[in-house]
Amino acid sequence: MLGKLFKNEMKAMGRVLLPLYAVMVLASCLFAFNLRLSMDGFAKFFVEKFAIVTGVLFGAAVLVVGVVMVIMVIQRFYKNLLGTEGYLMFTLPAKTHEHILSKALSAFLWMVIGAVSGVIAGFAMVAITSNVPEFIRQVKEVWATLSPSMALAPVIWLIIMLAAGVMESMIKVYAAIAVGHQFNSHRLAGSVLAYLGFGIIEMILSFVGNKLHLLPARLLNSTNAAGFMSVRSMQTGTLMALIGIAVYGILCWYLLDRRLNLE
């Protein structure tokens, strides 16, 4: 059932996000193309004006993608599970954790696709505005300079920590919405309060943890001599995020499975 729910969720989010990502990449190409023409001195006045317009379009597309992504994470969970569509979703022969997982995984995958689209847009801009063979040569040069000195482990741990952090943030939002849904009225306000409450509890726990030295100082040491985050601190960050996923995930599951109150 998880696979079917995931496929359905990917489709539901994709119908909004895919066109937006396409607009973002297209806007970056248009912007870069105009910059290139402007640099080449071609019909300078019009091209420069058009470059400003496409630049604003590109900036707006990036902003809209970010905002819509956040809205989609909240809206897909709230409307699809706890709104009237919940009468369909919660009567499917699926388990509660499958609903939560399908939402979180598909939102995460669409974020990754969004990040990849952003990278493609960036590369497209650089490739168009500069000489392409020269650009490739420069990339190879930078990579050749960096790769021998750059250890792979910090990069991998950074990616893992970011992924776990993003997932934790989403599950935390889901749990806050599920808490808000326990109220008989003002459920949205309840969800916001729950989210703020989670933040306060996290701060208190972190403060108490620091005071009681529950974590060795070396684990909390966030930077090394070179000024980069150490692998150990990123591992700690990942562990914290995983604990958050577990705690908020269980809370969300409990409220949706044992305390569901669909109106």
Partner: protein, 232 residues
């Protein structure tokens, strides 16, 4: 016929308000049962409990011997009393969705019903009229070969012609060995199709009899007797 729907001392409270006050009920498969009562009598609450959309405060409810869960959801075809389908979905996408999630969904039957109403397969729900949307919902539900059909106010808020279509669709498509539970307060319209009637008043069952028994014992139609019982 075996008991397929059973609840015992079922209580559901919302804060200080008790919607169901310890009801006990047994319904057999192969019957069309009317769950009859005025607004606020607890009909929707009982149906939601059977679908596990609510949790009982106390008591027990079983569908085909199972407490509500994944297994019972696969056995129940539920029509809520509101628009519950994503309005951006087109009818062919909805047919695929139902086919994916419910192994008992008969796509061919659904397509035939949609075709008979000239509902195009590429039209999203949000572009349909309210009446057409309700018909699409009903068609999807009645195209399942389910063990239990729970229909919450299927004829409320629709014109008389649509009511006839809805009742005809239910009668022509339900599985003969299934239980059909129709919740409504519009008794006159459904009376002719009911085998049994359950009167629900202020969260309690005040009557559960076959419709023939009600007519014989009271000398009145179910609708007339309902009006007498629930007179304000």
């Amino acid at each position: 016929m075996s008991v397929i729907f059973e609840c015992r001392d079922l209580v559901k409270s919302y804060g200080n308000v008790t919607a169901l006050k310890g009801i006990s009920l047994q319904l057999e498969s192969g019957r069309i049962v009317g769950l009859l009562g005025p607004n606020g009598s607890g009909k929707t609450t009982l149906i939601k409990l059977a679908n596990r959309l609510l949790q009982p405060t106390s008591g027990e409810l079983r569908i085909a011997g199972e407490t509500p869960g994944v297994k019972t959801k696969a056995a129940i075809a539920y029509l809520p009393d509101k628009d519950f389908l994503p309005d951006w979905m087109k009818t062919d996408a909805l047919l695929k969705f139902y086919g994916d999630f419910f192994p008992d969904f008969d796509r061919q039957r659904a397509e035939e019903m949609l075709m008979s109403l000239n509902i195009p397969s590429n039209l999203p729900l949000k572009k349909m009229s309210k009446g057409t949307r309700e018909k699409v919902q009903l068609i999807l539900i009645m195209s399942r070969r389910a063990q239990v059909y729970l229909l919450d106010e299927p004829i409320a808020g629709v014109d008389p012609a649509a009511r006839d279509y809805i009742l005809r669709t239910i009668l022509n498509n339900y599985e003969e060995n299934a239980l059909v539970l129709i919740s409504t307060h519009l008794i006159a319209d459904v009376e002719s199709v009911l085998d049994e009637a359950v009167f629900l008043k202020e969260g309690q069952i005040v009557l559960h009899k076959s419709t023939d028994e009600i007519r014989e014992e009271t000398g009145k139609s179910v609708d007339e007797y309902f009006r007498e019982v629930f007179r304000c």
